[in-house]
Amino acid sequence: MKKVKVDPKGVLTGSHYIDGDYAIAEGGLAAGCRFFAGYPITPSTETAERFSERIPHVGGVFIQMEDELGSIAAMIGAVWGGKKTMTVTSGPGFSLMMENIGLACMMEIPLVIANVQRGGPSTGLPTLTGQQDMMQAKWGSHGDYEIIALSPDSPQECFDLTIEAFNLSETYRVPVFVMTDECVGHMHEKVVIPPAEEIEVVERKWYEGPKDKYLPYKLDKDGIPFMVKAGDGYRFHTTGLTRDERGYPVINAECQSVVVPHLVDKIINNADKIIMLEEDEIDGAEIVVISYGITSRVAIRAVQQARKAGIKVGTLRLKTVWPFPEKRIKQLARKIKAFVVPEINYGQIVLEVERCAAGKAPAFHVPHCGGWVHDPNDILKVIKEAAK
């Protein structure tokens, strides 16, 4: 993993009062993204608008594609052309991208997709918030693979975690999703963008050996293959079919048994390095509230009330949702009475908590079917029930 200084042209150093959507665009530009292919969809469109306004001053391409199928296909093409690339979308567009998210996993493509979640299913609530695509982020494309998903809780984190998303995507050659939501996407807050020299980003893992020895999917010591770009004389081949080290299709169970474990293990085996958690008053807690994104902010109000009422409550915020912090949940499950999991959906991440807790501690869900954030009292009620 080679870290480099960012190109200062993309970094809008200073304090800004912007929304989460704009902050995602600024994070991408700061990280060196110079190719954005997207399709307008509420509530994410502001990111595309911001990018289209800024990119002519930075040097790069913004293209509004004909649909989300085209957006992600163009992004994968652009990565092979040597660019860092991102897009932004919401539920319906995320659904359309799923097929080529699979291609990106199979071709091992570093790219970033921000999903500003809204209420679903279908067209659902275009202008109102939701956290209902969390399972889709992990399982949405067919086949077995792993991705990385982060969940910012503020415009500032939209900026910070978009840069982090690029770094993770380059480190592990994998699509990374910034799973935010309408509330954070449209919320204006102060965002501090540091000077360019303080931002370090992960360089693509470029191949530097002899041209005729290049194998697109030969694993390096760290388990990640090297990349090249089209036009540099490698005359390489790559495909969405199950393939060997050369990138040639090999359609049999034997090759599949090498490729699929690799796609999964490169993430799972590095989970400890990838996962970012934020914990508060966990030691001695009887209840741990697990949340992510905007819900974690709302939950703190309930947690404060519960503490006043004498309940020992800790909080665990998932900045990284996928890969899931299995180890940490297992540890906690042995020590605490119960988990409380509020999320703006009908039960998604709570299923993972339950799976990891494996009966050692129950997980109480606080559902919300979208359109607004939780009433902190609803969370408080469940905390009290769990503490009984």
């Binding site: 807050e189 102060k190 934020e278 508060d280 902010r297 709302v298």
Partner: protein, 201 residues
């Protein structure tokens, strides 16, 4: 801690009011200010609002619950949002555009013909800035210096001077009004914030 709602009809610059005030507070007055707005497919002309939650600590819950300050620049917005105003809150209206019901006992009302003043200054489009000046003077929730610093980038560059003039007009009028009225004060109780230590795992 304060919760503020700016309201009016689409096209009056109501969202701008929230943005300018939020920017002033969080970039130049050392406060935390979270702005949200109601999004919808509504056309220009219908009721719209922007909301600000202001705090000296980090804002957690991003939406307003019981606002203590309501700024209304249209009758429809007033009718829609007035009932939610805190019982001893502050109500600020454009005199010419809002005919208030009998004001609830403990509510303090301040009125300004902001649109008329803007027209006198040459363009009714800057009525929102007249209103912001007035709002700044009577609520004292944000400093006028911070508000003026926040304007570049929030209003078109070539109209910056005009916007500042509009702000001053409203601010001065607010000063005059205050000479005859008690300064605004709300007594909403806020939960004491406990500092928590965060660890990154």
């Amino acid at each position: 801690m304060a919760e503020i709602r700016f309201s009016g009809f689409g096209g009056q610059g109501i969202i701008r009011c929230g943005l300018i005030t939020g920017k002033a507070l969080s970039l130049y007055d050392n406060k935390h200010a979270t702005m949200t707005q109601s999004f919808g497919p509504e056309a220009r002309g219908s009721a719209c609002s922007s909301q600000l939650v202001v705090s000296k600590d980090r804002v957690l819950y991003p939406y307003i619950t019981i606002p203590e300050i309501l700024v209304s620049m249209s009758q429809e917005a007033y009718d829609k949002y007035e009932p939610d105003l805190l019982e001893n809150g502050i109500l600020i209206i454009d005199t010419d555009l809002v005919k208030p019901k009998p004001v609830r006992e403990k509510i303090q009302m301040f009125a300004i013909p902001s649109t008329r003043f803007a027209e006198e200054l040459g363009n009714r489009i800057i009525a929102n800035l007249v209103m912001l000046g007035f709002f700044t003077a009577v609520t004292k929730i944000v400093s006028p210096e911070a508000m003026k610093k926040a304007l570049p980038g929030m209003v078109p560059g070539r109209f910056l001077d005009l916007n500042i003039k509009a702000f001053d007009r409203g601010y001065d009028y607010g000063g005059e009004v205050l000479k005859t009225a008690k300064p605004a004060k709300t007594k909403k109780k806020t939960a004491a914030k406990k500092k928590t230590t965060k660890s990154k795992k």
